[in-house]
């Protein structure tokens, strides 16, 4: 048993690493930059850069010492002047024959930066240039962001009054090549620092901690009630197999399953809370506010669960030992609840255990539309306000939970069924 656990734990590590990698790719890479994602398309480069700087997104992704900056976009003058149009003392010489266009600098030139460079950070200019009539050279110039040099003249050492530039780029210099987004992400995770929420301005870890209680208060009753009801109906169906009760239940289950989750929520809220006034409509003042969401949660999941448990029970009911039990004179109740149920425990336990990690996301929709301030509510708000840190944290924790609970489930299965040997 001990060795099995150890081996499973070892398998757990690559999976958890995979999830960390996926959440990283999704939130740091795909959306452009988390700053862009959180602040939207209309934010100015300065605002996005400030955001990124604050959260450490201004660093190379995996490793390296140079990173692009939003202050100046790379410009290859063969394609045109780009952001350099209109800069005084800089004119674009048109392409002539085989020679592509280039920028002509005459005297002092202020580069068209989108925002002033940061003090305390080193930047590096790289340019491909030549003297008129000379050969093309590439030069680099490192300088601190708050340098008093407002021009880049010193880049072109010992040059005459005119300089032709083919391309020019600006990079931030990062002192430590391992100071990268990914490494920082891992380091933060190791410290249990899950980031900060942009909409609430609170640490994500705190938000999640606060959300667990309401989510559990909603999700656990749903799980338990659903289990009891579905298993009972499943047993009944298995026993009355083929008769009208069973056929009707199968059809009803599929029908219930086919009704969209949203419809249950909307109809439930409208009929039971508004029209009939049996339950409060929204909020989390007291326990009574949980009755309606729990009811809706149970009924909406009933269809799929009854179908599943019915199949499981059916597999058992046809076994020989059931026939023997009836032949020996045992009543229906004894056969069903004492023998069939116990032997069907393995798939039931697996199913219940598999459902536990989903408790954590706490039925996003139920919480959102009934105003229960749990983790699901937190997630939907984060999606709506583009809060990458929160979503990333919720997804990460959810996955880790799933993997850990899966292990526990396998162990439980082995406990419940002595035939299973954990080799």
């Amino acid at each position: 048993m001990g060795r099995y656990i150890l081996r499973r734990l070892l398998h757990l590590i690559p999976t958890v690493f995979g999830v960390i990698a996926i959440t990283f790719v999704l939130f740091n890479l795909v959306g452009g930059s988390p700053g862009r994602m959180a602040l939207g398309e209309k934010a100015s480069p300065k605002q996005v850069d400030d955001f990124d700087e604050q959260r450490g997104f201004n660093k190379p992704v995996l490793w390296g010492t140079r990173i692009k900056t939003l202050a100046l976009v790379d410009q290859d003058f063969a394609r045109g002047a780009g952001s350099w149009t209109g800069v005084s003392n800089a004119t674009l010489a048109a392409a002539a024959g085989a020679e592509p266009s280039y920028l002509v600098l005459r005297g002092d030139v202020k580069p068209p930066l989108a925002f002033p460079l940061r003090g305390g950070v080193e930047y590096e200019w790289t340019a491909r240039w030549r003297q008129p009539g000379g050969a093309w050279l590439t030069s680099r110039l490192r300088m601190p962001g708050d340098s008093t040099l407002s021009t880049i003249g010193t880049l072109f050492k010992d040059a005459g009054p005119d300089v032709h530039v083919a391309s020019i780029t600006l990079r931030r210099v990062v002192a430590n090549p391992f100071d990268s987004q990914f490494v920082n992400y891992l380091a933060n995770l190791a410290r249990f620092d899950l980031g900060t929420s942009t909409s609430a301005n609170l640490p994500v870890a705190q938000l999640i901690r606060e959300g667990i209680r309401p989510t559990m208060l909603l999700a656990l009753p749903i799980l338990v009630t659903e289990l009891v009801v579905s298993v009972s109906i499943g047993l009944l169906c298995a026993f009355y197999r083929g008769r009208w009760l069973d056929r009707a239940m199968v059809f009803v289950s599929v029908a219930l399953m086919s009704l969209n989750y949203l419809v249950w929520i909307v109809a439930g809220q409208y009929l039971l809370a508004y029209k009939l006034g049996w339950f409060p409509v929204w909020g989390f003042e007291s326990v009574t506010y949980l009755f309606l969401p729990v009811l809706i949660g149970v009924i909406s999941g009933l269809g799929a669960n009854v179908r599943f448990y019915r199949t499981v029970m059916l597999d058992e009911v046809y076994r020989d030992y059931v026939r023997t039990a009836f032949a020996k004179g045992l009543g229906t109740r004894d056969v069903l609840f004492r023998h069939v149920l116990r032997n069907a425990m393995v798939p039931i336990v697996t199913n219940v255990v598999l459902a536990i990690p989903f408790l954590y996301t706490g039925s996003l929709l139920l919480e959102f539309y009934f105003g229960i301030p749990g983790i699901g509510y937190l997630s939907v708000n984060a999606i709506n306000s583009s809060d990458p840190d929160v979503i990333r944290a919720v997804v990460l924790i959810g996955s880790i939970l799933y993997v850990v609970v899966g292990l526990v489930g396998d162990l439980l299965t082995a406990l419940v069924d002595p035939r299973i040997k954990l080799t």
Binding site: P14, T15, G18, V19, I22, L26, F27, V30, G31, M37, V254, A255, M257, S258, L259, N260, Y261, L262, V263, V266, A267, Y270, Y274, P357, F358, Y360, T361, L364, L365, S379, V380, I383, N384, S386, P388, I391, R392, V394, V395, G398, S399, Y402, V403, G406
Partner: protein, 298 residues
């Protein structure tokens, strides 16, 4: 041997015969066909108006006509801007079919190929693929889909990618376990002995034998994809600008409380019928295609 096996019918032909005898399955198939025709009509309408740059009938607003209950002119009534609900339902069907088909086009190749490779070659490749799908499976699916949509930007592309990139996992699992069973079968060993290459065995011999899983998976995944799109459009993350069932449910929600029942009722019914038809047909198809339930196999 059964009559069918004597006639030398393939799995597909046998399955079709079995299906034909089931009334419910045939009714469901007819319903699906009806929806497909409606969706096609919706697509034609949409393209026609896009090309001609005119306002389609379902977008024509007429405030004087708002909140009309169903009558002869508007079979499902009108919404808050006086638009015909029935015509908007047709567009919703069009979006639903878009989502179902495109997400399947994304999920099926990925799941099928990875499942085939993992099941057939085993060893390290299998370990890598199992790690890959375990990782994807461990992420809470609705959250993952929402996160992908958030990263990619609002609109249909987000839905396609989100649903497609999560739906391949169950298919991959099923295909992998089925291929693993086939790997040890006599016909595969015979093919190896004959010197066929791995690729040929995999795609010309094993694939046809596991393809029925793909079909059943498609039939059962389609309604799930449609349902997910509805939820996402409802939350405002999905389709923008064009009518979709999710957006209509969102609009109808608050108006329900003011007594406007027809918009909500019509959308619910349309969605319910499509999903139910697919679920029932998918179940029947799965039973009909199950090789274990074939009449005989000598």
């Amino acid at each position: 041997m059964s009559a069918d096996a004597r006639r030398g019918l393939s799995l597909w032909q046998e399955a079709w015969r079995k299906l034909r005898r089931q009334r419910i399955a045939m009714v469901c198939l007819a319903i699906i066909g009806l929806y497909a025709a409606v969706a096609l009509y919706g697509e034609v309408e949409y393209r026609r108006h896009r090309i001609a740059q005119t306002t389609p009938a379902y977008q024509q607003q007429d405030i004087a006509l708002q909140y009309q209950p169903p009558d002869l002119r508007h079979w499902c009534g009108t919404d808050n801007l006086g638009r015909d609900v029935g015509l908007r339902l047709v567009q919703g069907a069009r979006v639903a079919f878009h989502v179902g088909i495109v997400t399947s086009l994304i999920a099926i190749p990925i799941g099928l190929v990875l499942g085939l490779l993992a099941g057939y070659f085993g060893g390290r490749l299998d370990d890598v693929i199992v790690w890959l799908y375990s990782t994807f499976a461990s992420i809470p699916s609705l959250l993952f889909i929402l996160a992908i949509a958030m990263a990619v930007g609002k609109g249909l592309t987000g839905i396609f990618l989100g649903v497609g990139l999560t739906a391949w996992v169950p298919l991959c699992r099923l295909i992998r376990s089925e291929v693993m069973k086939h790997r040890g079968r006599a016909y595969v060993q015979a093919a190896r002995a004959l010197g066929f290459s791995h690729g040929r065995i995999l795609f010309r011999h094993i694939l046809p034998n596991v393809f029925h899983i793909v079909i059943v998976n498609f039939t059962l995944r389609f309604p799930a994809a449609v349902g997910t799109e509805v939820i996402m459009s409802f939350l405002g993350i999905g389709v923008q600008g064009e009518p979709s069932w999710g957006i209509m449910i969102n609009n109808a929600r608050t108006r329900l409380w003011q007594g406007v029942w027809w918009e909500m009722g019509a959308v619910t019914l349309a969605l319910f019928l499509l999903v139910l038809a697919f679920n029932l047909f998918g179940d029947a198809l799965r039973d009909a295609l199950d090789p274990r339930l074939r009449d005989s196999e000598t």
